[in-house]
Amino acid sequence: MKIQENMKTKKNKKNYKSLILLGILFIATLVIIKYSPDNSEKIIDTSISYFIQMAKVFPAVLILMGLFSVWISKEFVMKHLGESSGVKGIIVAFILGALPTGPMFVAFPMAQGLIRKGASITNIVIFLSAWACIKLPQELIELQFLGIEFMLARLGMTIIFVTIMGIIINKLMNKNQIN
């Protein structure tokens, strides 16, 4: 009972903090726009375009997460992405991350959901990294703008080093240190 209460106040505190951060940034933006009108157009344009980009996919991603938490069992995630999932888990994490599913800030809440369902830290690191820099549609753009040699070399090395990084972070961390 007491633990539950503690968790509740901790959660409220976190929400409170994020509202303060938003307030500070909002005021900062207004100040910058007022005192540096040259940059204001770019600031407003960039923020709006990111907001639109986010608004287009975020509701869908949240619903997907909701469906995921209701339909996919803990056992399923633990089997395919858990501590004992081995090489297969690594491959599943790379594929999940590389599927076309939107900007990076969508990936963090999804990773949180996967960890709560029992995914290993190694696989979460791989999932986030794959999401960030080897997404399938983006690789076609890389091919077009940077050429096949560059793309294949970067892809190959990213897969190798991201896997190593995942294993090292897993060793360094205790799972209950994550929210």
Binding site: F26, S47, Q53, K56, L62, P137, T158
Partner: protein
């Protein structure tokens, strides 16, 4: 991006319909979970959007300048740091990196820029800390920076 948007939303609507026919109460529960997550994450996400606007608005001219006179290992590290501070979807990062390559930037610096730009996000730190915790966030970002440098140097050697 447009296609991605259509695919994601189409897929989710399809799944939602399937879910609804299979089990109504489970589907409603999933929508409630989605709503709660939205309320919880909205302030942080709006903060990240404002931060991207401020950084991009204030610094984009200076970035072009830096790449124009890029040389030596100091410039290389600076570019990696810059890639970490800035945040850009890889869809935009690749064309930009391609243009730097055409202007004569080295393969290593372009590779470092892409990897840090997409994997490390100073601006998304608040969201990453909120969802995954401080320790994980620090480890992931520090190690990503290191492997970005390693990948970049190796690519310079290979290509």
């Amino acid at each position: 991006m447009q296609n991605t948007t259509i695919i994601i939303n189409g897929l989710v609507i399809l799944l939602l319909i399937i879910s609804f026919f299979k089990d109504q109460s489970k589907t409603i529960k999933s929508l409630k979970i989605a709503g709660r997550s939205l309320i919880k994450l909205a302030p942080t996400i709006l903060s990240v959007i404002l931060l991207i606007g401020i950084i991009y608005g204030l610094l984009s001219d200076k970035i072009a300048l830096l790449f124009g006179q890029e040389n030596g290992s100091a410039g290389f590290i600076l570019i990696a740091v810059l890639g970490s501070v800035m945040h850009m979807p890889s869809l935009l990062a690749f064309p930009l990196a391609g243009s730097f390559l055409m202007e004569g930037a080295s393969i290593s610096s372009v590779a470092a820029f892409i990897t840090t730009l997409t994997m490390i996000g100073i601006v998304t730190l608040p969201l990453e800390i909120q969802t995954l915790g401080k320790k994980f966030t620090i480890y992931r970002n520090v190690f990503s920076f290191l492997i970005a440098i390693i990948i970049a140097v190796l690519m310079g050697v290979i290509l």
